[in-house]
């Protein structure tokens, strides 16, 4: 199959969990990477090594371990900056996850003054295909500030409906926040085109790259984003660590969100002055080991190459779309051509509820996700309450996709459908 990673078998050996055998003697077929990715040995080893040999708090301890730990942590920031081609390492802020990063932005905007201030009559624009974490923070912000929340609708084939873009994004728009790749529909959105329109009217653009960063080469400047967030655990890194990148001018203009240690310049009982970015937004002891693990993770992906990973995902997605089409009663939600979508494919199987599909697949070792995938509005748009989602990654093989398709045929016979 063209486009597959040439050293797929070697790559699979990097991920110890792929050796897992499940109940009934079935090998693990992990098709839930859009939920969380598996971790290569190098990430696990890097974190263990740090805990065993270098553990100390950062930026405060004057001893040798303290400086080793600080160096490893800041080195991880350099690696992340390189991974997303950030013009400056100082623009990379570590958060707990993408959700926290989005809430940090929306809450800082709530307190912003000057050009970034949001109030009565202002508008924030999102899309109908957002993850709940890119909907609810904006609902909270607009409700609290008397602003209006608006959104792009979706076309029948699961793309953003851009027909009213010039009306939707207008002089009142202060923020446009959208996902780069949909976690449910798989759609890759034209971020640069939407960002160009947003910038015409002086709005800032927030991009949720949680599903994009694992599988597309990211260049934050070329993307058109003013702020871009993603989470560590979907890019073969650990949980508990996320990234917020922002253009320096925007981050400098935003007030702090969390107050505490590390984010200050000086503190008196009456008032404080704040540190420069990135520390301004990193109050308290950060997830040190997790950040260091993330540094190793993005290094690992960079070593394989995001172009090659993207090609691999597209080849698998094409194979999966073909396989799913061969199962009677399957309806794929989202674009049907592999070129315009990512590696997550949500679908329905007529006559069987997603929970029951996932249960039968699990009994054969095939791990998928069933439910609304934290995208209830997008499901409602397509008249479904929930769906089953398979999602591949750089370690996924065509044979695993075949196991899914076989499992779906078995599911139909188990529930006596058709």
């Amino acid at each position: 199959m063209e486009g597959l990673l040439p050293e797929l078998e070697v790559i699979r050996k990097d991920f110890p969990i792929l050796e897992r055998e499940l109940a009934g003697g079935f090998p693990l077929v992990y098709l839930d990477s859009a939920n969380t990715s598996q971790k290569p040995q190098v990430v696990i080893d890097t974190m263990v090594d740090h805990l065993e040999r270098h553990n100390a708090n950062i930026s405060r301890a004057m001893h040798q371990l303290g400086s080793e730990s600080t160096e490893a942590f800041e080195n991880a920031r350099d690696r992340v900056a390189a991974f997303i081609k950030a013009p400056s390492r100082d623009e990379v802020i570590f958060t707990k996850n993408a959700t926290e990063a989005l809430n940090l932005v929306s809450n800082s905007l709530a307190w912003a003054t000057g050009d970034l201030a949001i109030g009565d009559g202002d508008e924030v624009v999102i899309t109908e295909m957002e993850h709940h974490s890119n909907i609810v923070p904006w609902q909270l912000l607009t409700e609290r500030k008397g602003a209006t929340l608006r959104w792009f609708g979706l076309t029948e084939d699961g793309r953003l409906d851009l027909s009213n873009i010039d009306e939707l994004i207008n002089e009142r728009t202060k923020v446009v926040s959208l996902t780069w790749v949909s976690n449910m529909l798989g759609t890759i959105n034209p971020v640069a085109q939407i960002a160009a329109r947003a910038h015409e009217v002086g709005a800032i653009v927030v991009v949720d790259a949680s599903q994009a960063a694992p599988q597309l080469p990211v260049d934050v400047v070329a993307s058109g984003a003013d702020v871009l967030v993603f989470t560590g655990h979907k890019v073969v890194g650990p949980t508990g660590i996320g990234v917020l990148w922002g253009r320096r001018e925007v981050l400098d203009a935003l007030p702090p969100f969390h107050g505490g240690g590390e984010m200050i310049e000086t503190v008196t009982m009456e008032r404080s002055t704040y540190a420069q970015i990135p520390h301004k937004f990193e109050a308290g002891t950060p997830p040190i080991i997790e950040a260091i693990g993330l540094g190793a993770a993005v290094d690992y992906l960079d070593h394989i190459g995001l172009d090659a990973i993207h090609a691999h995902e597209q080849a698998l997605t094409g194979h999966a779309l073909q396989g799913l089409a061969s199962v009677p009663g399957v309806r794929v939600l989202g674009p049907l051509d592999a070129a315009s979508r990512g590696g997550a494919i949500s679908f329905e199987l007529e006559g069987v509820h997603p929970h029951d599909i996932a249960q039968v697949l699990d009994s054969r070792g095939v791990a998928v996700r069933a439910g609304h995938h934290c995208a209830k509005p997008a499901h409602a748009r397509f008249g479904v309450q929930s769906s089953t989602r398979m999602s591949s990654y750089l370690y996924t093989t065509p044979a695993e996709i075949d196991a899914l398709v076989e499992g779906l045929n078995y599911t139909r016979s188990y529930f006596k459908v058709g």
């Binding site: 009934g24 997603p354 929970h355 029951d356 009994s363 439910g371 499901h379 309450q385 929930s386 529930f415």
Partner: protein
């Protein structure tokens, strides 16, 4: 391979799933509730009609998986026609079965078709599916009783 799966998907469950009993929303009713399982999105709208201390009707509109649909159907079969006290007792027995991690021996005299759900208790992720409508019924019944008492 299918033994584990078959313990979950008993024939009785699949029968109730395909042909649910007492489905639909009916009048009269004293309370109507809407319960959602936030992790999967399964939903049930449920009405209770209570007359002279007896569960006269349980009617519902539900969307969800086989386990949640079958559980709703079995519940309606079990509770309609029972006194409130008996119905609460059955509710408690079913709850204990579902929370028993597969270690509770089901009482067929009390639970009838409900014993088919004993296997579900071994799948922690599915227990909430089986309990969705039972929790809705208890909520609606409590609302009715507190209205009567006020």
């Amino acid at each position: 391979m299918d033994a584990a799966l078959d313990s979950l998907y008993q024939e009785i469950i699949l029968d109730h799933y395909k042909h649910p009993h007492h489905a639909g929303l009916r009048d009269p009713f004293e309370a109507e509730v809407h319960h959602v399982n936030p992790t999967c999105g399964d939903e049930v709208t449920l009405r209770v009609h209570i007359a002279d201390g007896v569960v006269d009707d349980v009617s519902y509109a539900a969307v969800g998986c086989s386990i949640s649909q079958a559980s709703t159907s079995v519940m309606a079969d079990l509770l309609i026609g029972k006194s409130i006290d008996e119905a609460m007792q059955i509710h408690q027995t079913f709850l204990e079965l579902m929370q028993g991690k597969g270690k509770v021996e089901p009482d067929e005299d009390v639970l009838e078709d409900g014993i088919a759900f004993a296997g579900v208790a071994k799948f922690p992720a599915r227990v909430k599916c089986a309990l969705l409508s039972w929790m809705a019924w208890k909520d609606a019944t409590s609302q009715t009783l507190s209205k009567e008492n006020s």
